[in-house]
Amino acid sequence: MSASLDIRLKRANKVYHEGEVLAGVVAIVSKEAVQHQGITLTMEGIVNLQLSSKSVGVFEAFYNSVKPIQLITSNIEVVKQGKVPGGKTEIPFEFPLHTKGNKVLYETYHGVFVNIQYTLRCDMKRSLLAKDLSKTCEFMVHCLPQKAKLQPTPVEFTITPETLQNVRERSLLPKFLIRGHLDATNCVITQPLTGELVVESSDVAIKSIELQLVRVETCGCAEGYARDATEIQNIQIAEGDVCHSLPIPIYMVFPRLFTCPTLETINFKIEFEVNVVIVLHDEHLITENFPLKLCRA
């Protein structure tokens, strides 16, 4: 006798917004009738914060993980204690996505030190002899689009040995001139990051040009705050000694789940940056950093 429990959401992409209704069915498939002590559905939205071992000590990081912040929670009993007949049973359900008080539903985000996750769990309680059945499924929450229309502000940049910081021996640097622009640094998360880059000249052959997407997560706590920057992805836009003075497109799609609109709350902050990384053939590494502001439109 085996029964299976499944949650199926109406939307194939599982993306919902605040104020919408999360609808779907609980599907129970079993050959015979199943005796149970009630089926419940739990919807929960949680922000998990973790302190990095860099900012605080290892032990502290282990113990002092900050208390999770609950964004939304809701619990309903779908079916009262009884029997589900054999075969395939589908029980529809609906959850309105409303927050209590002044809480906001932050967008789903999977990071290193910050995780914002929404789950839907279905439990079937059963008598002592049989194991309880449980099924969890994650659904995505997207922020509501911003009201104000974004004006793209192009950012021009020029990289020469002189513009670099952090250089030990400037005289050892080869000569180069790289110009370019990003079409905007305040980006719509569903649109790619775009721009152009021109290698005007370079004494040393270029090995690779990459775009590095970095997240900056800040967790506040009693002792202060911890700020960590980690790489999300690294996209190569040029390989080898590219043709000089020919514009090379800068193009990067923001990965889903790992990016979200830039977020700033009392307890934590999620920000993004992009680095244009130029690797020269003599292993010189030139990086130009651009903070980004992501949003939904």
Partner: protein, 966 residues
Amino acid sequence: MAAVQWHSRSRRYEAELQSCGLEVAPVEFGDYHPLKSVTVTDSKSLRGARKGSTSSSSNSVAPDPLSSMLDGTDPLSMFASASASEPPLTLSHSSSTGDLGRGKRMEMEDEVGVNFEPWSSKRGEILARFTTTEKLSINLFMGSDKGKAPSPGSSAVSEKVRTRLEELDDLEEDSQRELLNLSQQDYVNYIEKLNQSLKEAWASDQKVKALKIVIQCSKLLSDTAVIQFYPSKFVLITDILDIFGQLVYERIWSMCSDPRSLPDSFTADVNVNDTAKKTCLNWFFKIASIRELIPRLYVEVALLKCNRFLTKCGIQETLPRLTAMIRGIGDPLVAVYARAYLCRIGMEVAPHLKDCLNKNVFDLLGTFRQIHGDSVQNQLVLQRVEIPVYLTLYSPAIHWILQCVSYRAPEPLLTEMMERCKKIGNNALLLYSVMWAFRAEFIATRATDFIGMIKDCDEAGFPKHLLFGSLGRSLACADPPEAERLPILNEAWKVITKVRSPQDYINCAEIWVEFTCRHFTKREVNTVLSDIIKHMTPDRAFEDAYAQLQSVIRKILIYFHDFSVLFSMERFLPFVDMFQKDSVRVEVCRSIMDVFIKHQQEHTRDPVILNALLHICKTMHDSVNALTLEDEKRSLALLINGFIRMVSFGRDFEQQLSFCVEARATFCNLEPVLVQLIHTVNLLAMETNRVMRGSHSHKTAAFVRACAAYSFITIPSLSSIFSRLNLYLLSGQVALANQCLFQADAFLKAAVSVLPEVPRSICIEGKLRSSEGFLLDFINNFLSALLVVPDHPEAGVLYLVRGLLNMVQDYTWEENSDAKFHVYISALPLLAAMSQETYLYSIPKVDSNETLYGGDPKFVAEINKLCETLIGHVLDHLKSLGRDESVRRQGSLAFTLFGCILAHGELRNNKLNQLSVNLWNLSHKHSYCDTRTSMQTLESIKHQAQQPGMAHISDMVQRLTLQSRT
């Protein structure tokens, strides 16, 4: 049975002919005839003129099924060409094939027509051309990049984090592999293995693993070690990418196809459901996060078609972005092949989007200087690859790109591209591809410009002979302006003749021969030939270039059908002499003879042609040896015979004969040729006869005898016994017709004396068959000829007939065969015919036995005696058959004899009458006789009995009883 008496029935042939002949009804010309071809009359012009119009047959159409098969393409080759023209990996429901099925075809502009040379045809060529003997290596990081030194960009990354991308890279634990020292074949095998594992992974639903394999494969394309192999590597790997693209497309397709399959013209908004869109989007997100540029590019191009599932203009938006993305590839060779792949997929998926193709070309031109940049030069030095070799690696890709662009492109665009190419330095490589890919007409009208540009090219770079070869190829298809032709040829040849390597030289020269033949006279072609000879003779360079030299001959033969012109080229035969390898030489001779037979309409006596062709035919003949196959001999003989037939010296018969004498000496090893020669000489004799209107002068009589002598001494050299027999007979008849009695006698005597040599079985088409039927046929034919042969004054009466019958008697016939007696029976009609007062036929100016003996009773008695002996032999045999219980044979032989006596015997004679009745009864005794035949025979006898003077037969009919079978 008692000894028989024979009396031949006297015949009045004329009267018989008249009574037997059917009424002759005149048939009008236009009337229906079953063998006449179906007449299609043009009703407009010929209305009312239908009947009796001979012109109606001139525009008749013959729906001969055989010929209509030949001039149309036959179904097999049609299939082959259709499959070849299909894009290599069209899906069963892809737009390109699906569109054909749709009633309304899209605008022609949107389709790739059959005249677009498909990639699949280039594929094999590239694989065959770009090979290497150097060792290759494959570096596959199926595992994550962990093993490598942390990539420079990851300084800001905390190591313990595994990004999504790294997760993607992680296929199996530590499956990082580096395969070194692979031979080319190993490499190909390895890639094939990857291909297999891709299919397996997909089939077992491991989509991520499949993607990883594809990414790893496309990574190999960024590696330019062993650069000579790069084009082939590109072909192998893009094959895998094609398969992957197809798999993904089909999968998403099937998600939308539930329950009804998607129409070909689906739009993303209407027909595609959310799940399919989500899956499709997932693929694109995954691809977008591929770290390295080249795999990301290739995989995205492979999945280009899937954009159709997302938005309507997805492809249109993606193409320019991908085009721009290629700018990031630093290595020019890698970049150009990436462009070629993008153009290929673009043409397959969205042939109407031409802008992107153009943009690719302009980007290519923009980055062209990279090819001569420092990094490339360093790499070449490192790999020890010469610049010309390196540059030719580009040509397949650039050819392809330009081919895509120029396909149905407007003239101004091509002109613009030309102009841009001109401006770029070191543009030989581009010129090469432009000439290759652009329309031949376009090139031809600007041929002079091109020559100028080619001349300006750098000597050290791209090989010039390739450039001229490419130009020549275009000029072979399209004609440059009339006035420029000669300067073009001069300029081109000036360069070609300076090419040092014989192989390069001949490759190029071969192409230009076509242009020369097309537009110029034998003088120029002759010059070209002598130049080729000059280049190819030193060090026997021609030995390595037979294929090209053969092609030169072929091209000349296409344009020169007049053999007097062809052979008046001084260098033509010396050129043919360069083919020193026997098999090739014979093949060349063969192709020349083929053309000669096909196109020579009139007989010739031109000594130039005769000498040359005799030389060529001799070459073919001399190639025959003991090992030559029968078929080969036959086809060679056919060609030589074709030549002999076309030789005619008109009224100069003696010269013709002496030609035949010479030909006999030359072609003594090919029997069919000798046979042909004998026929030719016989024909010559008859022709003389015709010219002299039957009465030979002293001189012509001598000539005709010479002809007979020619045949007489040629025939014995034939090995086929039946050829000999038939030719003896034929030549005998010809001699007789020309009043050469002694010669005729000699021929016939020879035939008789050869008879015993006929083997019991002969080989026909590789099978052993009994010769009996052939022998009987020949003897019957021979007998009928004997009627007109007058007896030799010194030999006895019926000397030849007796001789023949003696031979027949002594011949060892097959056991259990009645053939001998059938011969006896068939001799009876001859003897009967001989005893008539006037013979059935005679030869003008030759006195047959009828005049010699004048119906002398002694002569008739002699004949009758002979008949009686023959009948006696047959009757004896019938008796012995009765003893041997072979009653069936007995019956049929008796019936044959009965028929013969009935037709030729004088049945008023009681004994003969009685004999025939007995034979009838004998043949019906065992009821083996075919009742229908018996019935018909009886009917016919009854019919004959009604004729006047045949009353005696009606008595006999009474006595012929038909045994009904019980």
